[in-house]
Structures are given as C-alpha cells and as structure tokens.
Symmetry: C2
Subunit: 258 residues, 2 copies
C-alpha cells in the first residue's frame, strides 16, 4: 500500500484538487484508492457531497480509538459514487483536536496505525492536509512514504515554501524511514511573466526536488468540483487532467537517481 | 477613521489581494491608508518586500504592550514605497499567540485599542486576516466597523461561507456597535457554468448581503504581486483593477436601506 500525503502550510494552492485529481487517474487504472481528508474544513469531504458538520464517523473517530483494528478503522470509511474510490472523511470536530490534545504524547501516530490496519484493502492512500502545522499535519507526515508539496507559481508562494521545507525538516527528524518529497508547481499560467519567473526561481532553488512539469491553470477544475467528480472522470482531454496524468506517471515511475 | 476587516476562514479566496487592491485605489484618491497584516504567514507583509521572519516591530509587539499610546503603536508601523500607504506588519511570531494566550482574558481588544491611539493619523485602515478563527481574527472583528468577506464563486466556497457566517454571529454578539458585513464574490470566471451557478446560489441565499458585482479572474494580479504594487498602480485599465474600483465606490457610497 503506497501512502502519499499532499501538504503545504499555504492555503488555496491546490492540495485538495491534487489529491482528488490523482485519485481519479489511479482508479481509472483499476487501482483501489483511499482518500483521507485531514482538513477540519472538509473540502474533500464536501467535494464528494458529504457534510463535515454531520459526519458521525470520520478521522476524528480514529483519535478516540484505543485499538486500531481493521474493523474499527473500516467503519470510519465511506463510499464515494466512484468505483474503487473510498473516503476517510473529515469532521468539523477535528478543529478542536489541537487544543484538546495540546502536548499530549502519543497522538502523532493515529493515522499511521489506522492505515496499517487497512493494509491490503487499498493500493494507494492519498492524504489531503489542512494548511496549518498541528497534530493533523504531524499525523499525515508520519503516516506517508511520499510527500507532494503543491506550490503556486507566484511570487509569494516561494516564501511559504521555505517555511514548509523548514517544518518538514523538523518533523521528519523523528521519522524512522526517510520521506521522499516532491514539489509540484500548480496553477501555472504561461501567459504571465510572474508565473514563468516564479517557476524559474523555484527550480533554481530546489533543483530536482521539483517535478519537471507543471499543473497549468485550467478553468475545468471548478466545473469538476461542481459535479463532484475528479477532473479526469468529467473530461479526459482537458489540460489540467492531462497534467495530473503526467504527474502520476512520474510518481509511479520515478527516474533512477543519476 | 474607517476600519475595514477582510476575513474568511477559507484559504486562498483573495483576502490579501482585496486589502491591497482597495488600498491602492484609496491612496490614488489622496487618502491616508494603513494596511494591517494579521496573518502569521505575512503575505501582505511580504507583498511589500518586508520579511515576516525578521520583523522586530509588528502586530506581535502590540500584544506585549501595557499602554497603547500613539508613540508605542506608531513605532510598529513601516512605510511602503507607496505615497500615503503605511503597513502594520505581521511577524511569524504571531503563530504562537493562540497557544500563548489560550483563554487569557483581555487580549481580544489589542488591535482596537492600538487603532484608537492612531485615530487621526489615517483615513482608512484595512485589516487583512488569516484564514483561521483565533485570537487574531477575534481582534480584527472587534476592531472594525465594516467586514468584507471575499468568497470564491465556486461550489465548495459556499459551504465555507455558512461556517464563516456562524462564526461571525457568535463573535459579534459581544460587540457594542453593530457590524456591517458585505460578501464579495471573487475570482469570478464568466466562462464557467460553475462560477455562474455559485454566484446565483450565493445571491439566492444571502440576498443583499452580497455586493451587486464581482471581482473577475484577472491574471494581472499575479504580476502586480511580483512587482510589489497594488494592481491599480501597475495597470489602471485591467478588469481586476476596475472591479476593485467599483467595489470601493459601493463601500464609500452605500445605497440607502430601502
Ligand atoms: N490548476 C488549477 N487551475 C484552476 N483552478 C484550480 C487549479 N487547481 C485548483 N484550482 C482551484 O483553486 C481553488 C483552490 O484549490 P484547492 O481547494 O485544491 O486548494 P487547497 O490547497 O486544498 O486549499 P486549502 O488550503 O483551503 O485546503 C479551488 O477553487 C480549485 O478548484
Ligand atoms: N481575481 C483574481 N484573479 C486571479 N488571481 C487572483 C485573484 N484574486 C487573487 N488572486 C490570486 O490568488 C492567490 C490567492 O489570493 P490571496 O493571497 O489574496 O488569497 P488569501 O485569501 O489572502 O489567501 P490566504 O488564505 O492564504 O491568506 C494569489 O496568487 C492571488 O494573486
Ligand atoms: Mg484543501
Ligand atoms: Mg492572505
């Protein structure tokens, strides 16, 4: 089971869109995918027409468990209307976790242990994170084997990325296994010099940590969200869908280190 | 001195862009404007080429004051390169405030008291908020007389708005004076049915709480941010700039209640 987290402390950079779009392509290949919504605002949960304000079973329930059994964890999953795609939804109650748990020990591995209990039920798990460092992001970073960091190709986003990379360094010190991370340039608008210059600055600073292509601006994402479908299941040929297909191919077939 | 807060718990909806764009138009009319950055990620501070990781004087300093004098508060202000526009910058240290202050009493009015001390130094104060409910947003909502709520014209954003309106109701119960609030539809893309439908749903649900026009998608915003200029000072005729001009006119000349 491969576990990818999609995280960035910056808001509105395409985390949820990336998680959903990649999931759409994976299920089209016949793979079993679990999407995990770690955001108290539940955008991914709402995307699939569930209501985070009214989720009796969710990620929040997992934080109440003493035992992480396949049964107890599976009971928190819901079916999306899409074949092969399940969701571990968010609930608004998640917003209280940081304050509840404070510096309580041992709550950093809740998601990791839950996913271990689901081990051969899924081929891929994609974790959508909230734009904030806290117990939920810590859980996501502890549970995943690969981290995708979507970054808007615009001036201010690069500053936010430095901050994210510092956070990452700090958090991954406590991991036993190394964490592979890939920066994904999003919302690239080739018509603007600002996009081109940010992309160049991004590649200059982070070299081969950056995916060698981009996710372009594509107005179809909004329509896909309105229809509650991953973009590739709404419209195969749109450039946003094709870009995520390319990204998936890079992730499934990483180049050998030269 | 008019004090406007720009807030929404949702990330990436155009809060910072709205604050900076409106400020640009106000200074062009010869008015003295103060921009206040309440976001620990400091996008507005970075916009004007300051570094929130290295701001010895900022909003954070105000939380350490016992006395809010004109001198102590003014010492936290910086000049932007733009005539008539000053900034009360953010600092990364702000991120620790919620945990530091916890449920400590009396820190909800720090910004309000600070602005009182600046009373005739500015004509307009625009407060850019972070996308999170906490002590900083509480301060912004207590200090302002008008609240602008930018909302993306897309399916998921409407759900976030309901949540914002609940938060608002809760927080404004404790205010002595009423709070005027205006919903501003942003990033409107007339080519997509998703935009049109969200706009219609927004107007249907919130009626005349919604500004009667929209801020359209405009790729020039990214270029303006790259140049560190409010959009109107970079390019007058671009439609994003003109839309914020219209918004400003509505705010300066509210229709009589019919
Ligand atoms: N490549 C793209 N082109 C055009 N619009 C996009 C693109 N990617 C995402 N969007 C739109 O941008 C908005 C924000 O995207 P998304 O919700 O994925 O960001 P996020 O990082 O998950 O936000 P948050 O920090 O609030 O969780 C959504 O309206 C989405 O439809
Ligand atoms: N009308 C618009 N058209 C095109 N791009 C826009 C528009 N408004 C804002 N943007 C861009 O969208 C991104 C997010 O905008 P902005 O930073 O203002 O949102 P925000 O709500 O302040 O985000 P945060 O929640 O992180 O504080 C920026 O790259 C900005 O340049
Ligand atoms: Mg999201
Ligand atoms: Mg902002």
């Amino acid at each position: 089971m491969k576990i990818w987290a999609i995280a960035n402390q910056k808001g509105g950079v395409g985390k949820t869109t990336s998680a959903v779009s990649l999931a759409g392509h994976l299920v089209s290949q016949g793979l079993r995918v679990l999407l995990v919504d770690m955001d108290p605002q539940g955008s991914m949960t709402s995307y699939f027409r569930f209501d985070p304000d009214d989720m009796p079973k969710s990620i929040y329930s997992l934080f109440q468990l003493d035992d992480f059994t396949t049964q107890s964890v599976s009971s928190a999953l819901v079916d999306t209307k899409i074949e092969g795609l399940k969701l571990l939804p968010a609930s608004t109650a998640l917003a209280t976790l940081d304050r509840q748990l404070g510096t309580k020990e041992g709550k950093g591995l809740v998601l990791k242990k839950s996913l271990v209990a689901l081990d051969d039920h899924f081929d891929y798990v994609l974790i959508d994170c909230l734009p904030m460092l806290g117990i939920l992001m810590v859980n996501a970073l502890a549970a995943c084997d690969t981290l995708l960091i979507p970054v808007q190709t615009e001036f201010l986003a690069l500053k936010g990325l430095d901050r994210m990379m510092n956070t990452l360094e700090m958090i991954t010190k406590s991991r036993k296994s190394p964490l592979k991370s890939i920066i994904v340039p999003t919302m690239f608008d080739r018509r603007t010099r600002a996009s081109l210059e940010s992309l160049r600055a991004l590649r200059e600073k982070y070299g081969d940590k950056v995916w060698d292509s981009v996710i372009p601006v594509d107005t179809k994402f909004r329509e896909a969200s309105r229809q509650g479908l991953p973009i590739s299941l709404m419209s195969q040929s749109t450039r946003g869908s094709q870009a995520y297909q390319l990204l998936l191919e890079s992730l499934l077939n990483p180049k050998r280190e030269s």
